[in-house]
Amino acid sequence: MKRRDAIRNLTGASLLPLLGALAGLTPATANARVAAAFEAKTTQEALAALFPDAEVQPSEALTLIAPDIAENGTAVPLTIRSTLENIDYVAVFATGNPWALTAAYKLTELTAPPLSLRVKLGKTQDVVVIARADGKLYSSTRHIQVSVGGCGG
């Protein structure tokens, strides 16, 4: 699948009515929404739980720096950079992991990207970063090839 198609699928699917059932179960408070997002198995479900009806657009202003080939999936270094202003939320999704949502940063005016952390990737997959700036969602995707999976322990 091409990168652009992947993003389009992601944004399109978040609007699908089948997620309505999930939304019915989702408690209204922000904390419970985040908890539900971390429980969600797929990127679409997690995205719908975090940002119920927002539209995501790919952006050149947001970049995810990661190795193209990760020798060892247990610790893949990711760095998120951006030239966007007023970013208040950054979420990292590992689309091929058993639980897609990996990490979510809440930023204040005291912080801004670059942000970095190390994640486990179970297999070769796309990693998607979504940042919220001024109420709009921007995404950046990177395909990471994993030689040895990182979900064994």
């Binding site: 058993p98 990490a103 940063y105 942000l115 970095s116 952390l117 994640v119 990737l121 979900c151």
Partner: protein
């Protein structure tokens, strides 16, 4: 600068931007099957890391199970000056937590 589980390195650069790298000692176990018995083993992972600057929340990171063992997290803080205190606190899904204060020098 360390506490039992948190190490932090803070580099204060020009115009008040401080680069903070923190290493938290934690197993970060995912929910999985025991390879020998096949029993389901529970997850044990950090749910939240909160960073404060002089007591005011600067960034909070919510983690899923897929954050690596011994999380190494780095970020930049703005408007930091010498003498400020950066607090780092974590809490895991089994109720354990740790916190440390790291002065900026």
């Amino acid at each position: 600068m360390t506490t039992p589980s948190i190490k932090a390195r803070i580099q204060l650069g020009d115009n008040g931007v401080a680069t903070v790298r923190t290493l938290i000692a934690h197993p970060m176990l995912i929910e999985r099957n025991d390879p020998k018995t096949g029993a389901r083993l529970p997850a044990h992972f950090i749910e939240e890391v909160e960073v404060t600057l002089n007591g005011k929340t600067a960034v909070s990171l919510e983690c899923g199970q897929a954050v690596s063992t011994n999380p190494l997290v780095s970020f930049e803080l703005r408007s930091v000056k010498t003498g400020d205190v950066i607090g780092i606190r974590w809490r895991d899904n089994q109720g354990k937590s740790d916190a440390g204060d790291f002065p900026v020098v």
